[in-house]
Amino acid sequence: MTPPILTAKDLRKKFGDFEAVKGISFSVLRGEIFSLLGPNGAGKTTTINMLSCLLPPTSGTAEIAGHAIPGDTLAVRRAIGVVPQEIALYDSLSARQNLEFWGRLYDMRGQELTQRIDEVLDQVGLADRAKDKVKTFSGGMKRRINIAAGLLHKPQLLFMDEPTVGIDPQSRRRILDMVRELRDGGMTVLYTTHYMEEAEELSDRVGIIDQGRLIALGTQAELTRVVGEQETLRLHLAEEAGVALAGVNGTAGAPATMSADGSVALFSGLPGVLRASAVDHQIVVNVADAGAALPAVVGRANTAGLHVRSVDIEQPNLEAVFLHLTGRGLRD
């Protein structure tokens, strides 16, 4: 088995009274894409910040490429590349000027640096815009240069913190392809996201993180095995039904109540229904057998005044896993 490049042991981070990360342990193996999947505020970025030496852990340790955290932070930083969630670039400098600057901070220089800048510019498909100021770029282009700046020194381990937030589908596609290419080229990637599809598409292994805890870890197959033969019914509601859903929940004593975390009690008691949760205008229902449960679920929804426009039947996926483990859906 490949040796781990990163091992985290019981990492914790407290901000005042608030414990953002409540003891997380995991390993990332050399050459894999490891995703940390979890809703916003789950503690993903705090974890990444501790591992990239931005924040000292309140307790716990980690080891990256043989260097300890806390401890040998400079050596750790040399081994890793970081693509921060926000676009951390000098927008009034050109793409090349930015890359030159960041490259030098990773101890690169001269011919080697120039060559490497050309390579990563090609890699992110912005070679022709190298001389333009970053502030003239579109959101997707900025994201790509943001990634390029983290790749320059060919890090053994690349941290990518939600690198696809707020961009168009084409750019996202491009970035996802790029991440896979990086892995195929031998780089290890630690990827955080709250998009289930991204984690499913990219990851060799996934860690599911919620409320500061790592609640599941494994390959996609391993994880979905947790929910066994469960299937998922996804009820798409009409726009106004979303409001109605909230209204139903707001009424005291109403049969359908949605708790603060989004779980829906409307379907409890129906045969074969394991769990239900509301996300935006959808209700996700875990069932043992989709075909058997469908009529009753739709009937109950109609009775409650929720206008169901369509229903998807889905095979077990990470969302189902998350729902199964937390009783809540992943939110976009």
């Binding site: 030496c53 400079l74 970081v82 676009i87 951390a88 030098r104 901070l105 700046a149």
Partner: protein, 403 residues
């Protein structure tokens, strides 16, 4: 380490001059202000007359009033120009002249033998603008010219009155004859020897508006961008690049050194240009003691960049940084004596402004450009500036956060 430092310095310089408008404050305005406040080009080779214009309304038109005008012109401080009283007053009202001299009709007559004998009083009127700080110098020159004109008359009168006291004259005719002879003798006498010599302390130059402007504007305009450096910290915070810097294998000290170093280098370059401008265009003797000059400018730059760093940990937006730097820079320079000689300040204020680095810098630059002082003499000022630098750096380090 060095590679990283140069990267940071190059990045900061590129960021700073990216908009070109930075050049306005870095170079263009400082040169214009130095030029204007210094009074333009020096009178090189009989080019222009840089003496202070003093409009003179000669309403008397006698040989005596003409002599007064000539005596006034015979100095290197003022340039009298005859015109009507209305014109003179208009110049004064428009602040185009600091003072105007009116020689009223009857001036010559009062100074004639008859006038003197009759005890008539000769008087001139000097109109001065109260807002002007050169008026006292003009007043001194008028005093000098008036005494030169009055001297033979005074000598003759003193002789006549003295003699009358011990050997009274037989009649007025005898007295007048004696006075006329005495006046003729007094006027024939050679000019009296100088009884006061002025030397400038330590062999320096006399006060020079150009030196004051060159030194004062240097302090003002070097200080403003140094304080404005606080804006760069804000920019880095807003862009998120400060956080990203921490994920690279770069020490906090390397980053700070680079950020501060780039400001410092820019300030040194700016000072070099302004000093060269002073030497070549304004003919200010900056180069008398280069070592002393370098020590002062180097320590002043440090104090400024340290203050800018400390300030950068307080300001929240780039707008705040730019407004604050201009206001604070101007105010500190003004109070530090960079715009007017410190002697014009009330005594209490002169003590209070010792808490400003600009005060010490200006004092040291005055030592160098005007007082002719050397390294040993400016060491105290340099020491105080270093102490300012250390104090401000400490505040900056203590308050510095990456976000």
């Amino acid at each position: 380490m060095l590679n990283k430092l140069t990267a940071i310095i190059r990045k900061d310089t590129a960021l700073r001059f990216e908009g070109r408008s930075e050049l306005l404050f870095f170079l263009i305005l400082p040169l214009i202000f130095t030029f204007l406040i210094g009074g333009g080009l020096p009178a090189a080779g009989g080019g222009g007359d840089n003496r202070l214009l003093v409009p003179v309304a000669d309403e008397d038109g006698s040989p005596r009033s003409a002599a007064l005008l000539a005596a006034l012109a015979d100095g290197d401080v003022v340039r009298p120009e005859a015109m009507s009283r209305a014109e003179a007053e208009a110049l004064l009202a428009d602040e185009d002249a600091a003072a105007a001299l009116i020689i009223p009709a009857g001036f010559g007559a009062a100074l004639s033998a008859d006038g003197l004998a009759a005890g008539q009083e000769a008087a001139v009127t000097l109109l001065v603008s109260p807002t002007s700080n050169v008026a006292p110098a003009i007043e001194g020159e008028v005093n000098r010219a008036v005494s030169a004109l009055a001297r033979p008359l005074l000598v003759a009168r003193n002789a006549t009155e003295g003699v009358a006291a011990v050997r009274p004259f037989a009649d007025e005719t005898a007295r007048a004859a004696f006075f006329a002879a005495a006046l003729a003798a007094a006027e024939a006498e050679a000019a009296p020897p100088a009884r006061v010599v002025t030397e400038v302390a330590a062999g320096g130059n006399a006060y020079d508006q150009r030196a004051q402007a060159s030194a004062g504007q240097l302090i003002t305009w070097v200080f403003i961008p140094l304080l404005g450096a606080s804006g760069l910290f804000v920019y880095e915070r807003l862009m998120g690049t400060l956080r990203r810097l921490l994920t690279t294998p770069t020490r906090k000290s390397t980053f700070l050194l680079g950020a501060i170093g780039s400001q410092y280098l820019a300030a040194l370059a700016q000072m070099a240009i302004l000093v060269l401008f002073g030497v070549l265009v304004m003919r200010v003797p900056w180069g008398r003691d280069p070592v002393a000059l370098i020590v002062v400018l180097a320590t002043f730059g440090l104090a400024g960049v340290a203050l800018g760093t400390a300030l950068g940990t307080f300001v929240k937006t780039e707008g705040q940084a730019s407004n604050l730097s201009i206001m604070l820079g101007m105010a500190m320079a003004l109070l530090g004596g960079a715009w007017w000689p410190m002697e014009l300040f009330p005594a209490g204020l002169q003590q209070i402004v010792r808490v400003l680095p600009t005060t010490w810098a200006m004092s040291a630059l005055t030592d160098i450009t005007m007082r002719g002082q050397g390294v040993a003499d400016i060491l105290p000022e340099a020491g105080v500036l270093l102490a300012f630098a250390a104090a401000f750096f400490l505040v900056g380090l203590w308050r510095f956060r990456y976000e």
